[in-house]
């Protein structure tokens, strides 16, 4: 499912016309496709790859792949959803070739418990509404930096599930892991991200 993940969704009629022209081999249609969809796809690739050069290469790989497989595009699919899936896969392929960043241990950011099952440090309500505070560019930067601090296998699952809004099953397939592994990684990623945001949020006043 793709709701509001930054990928444009032109009207179905326009998309259907474009697909028909692409499938008929209209070369102008391919350029129209690229112009219409490359910005949202570039944003997806940037989020995954964190490198402008790699993101552009992934978008190029994705469009080449889409060009080759347009004949198999089904009329029941949404063009933007189909392209989104292709660019995610192209970005993941490229991610595997990137040099690994030094990673923090996620365990350090997970809640700790006493023998009786209570939290070592009881949680305190965050002071300000998340929806309001995240409108501030400074806070948006803090959140993005915190996501970037997550170890890669957790960061990617958080991106695909919570930001790209892929399902557990789609994420599992894209990453070649089980649905259960996706669920575990997602929960740990959210917990670690919550820990990283906690110092910034619990001091804020509502």
């Amino acid at each position: 499912m793709l709701a509001d993940s930054g990928v444009s969704d032109p009207s179905g009629a326009l998309s259907a016309d474009l697909v028909a022209r692409l499938q008929a081999g209209d070369s102008g249609a391919f350029e129209a496709l690229v112009r219409q969809h490359s910005m949202p796809l570039l944003r997806v690739a940037r989020r995954i790859l964190r490198s402008e050069e790699d993101a552009r290469d992934a978008v190029q790989d994705a469009f080449v792949s889409a060009y080759k497989s347009i004949a198999r595009f089904g009329s029941n699919s949404r063009l933007s959803t189909w392209l989104h899936r292709i660019v995610v896969n192209a970005s993941l392929m490229r991610l595997r070739t990137q040099r690994r960043h030094p990673e923090e241990d996620i365990e350090a950011h997970l809640p700790r418990f006493l023998e009786d099952g209570h939290q070592v440090e009881p949680s305190v309500a965050w002071g300000e509404s998340a929806d309001a505070v995240v409108q501030r560019e400074e806070v948006r930067g803090i959140v993005r930096a915190a996501i970037d601090r997550l170890p890669e296998q957790y960061r990617i699952v958080l991106l695909l599930r919570d930001i790209e809004e892929m399902t557990t099953e789609e994420t599992a397939e894209a990453l070649g892991i089980t649905a259960n592994a996706v669920k575990i990684r997602l929960h740990r990623a959210r917990q670690a991200l919550r820990t990283l945001l906690d110092p910034h949020m619990k001091g804020a006043t509502r």
């Binding site: 490359s38 080449v64 996501i147």
Partner: protein
Amino acid sequence: MSKRPYLPCREIIAFLADYLDGSLAPETRSEFDRHLGVCPSCVAYLASYRDTIRMAKAASIEADAGEPPEDLVKAIVASVRGE
């Protein structure tokens, strides 16, 4: 008043994602709700966990404006000409 022991915070937090996506069995869900009724720490944790998900999404998604880089468009179009 029930004499049953409450689920420990550790269990609540371990299964929070299942609680939020509605995949817990009804009896487990009611045990969660019973715990949340008496534990301000888990209530705060749950609220901030939800906020974390919303903030991650909101901070990552940019306005969908702007033209694609012309050099990228040209490179992509050129790359399929040879296909």
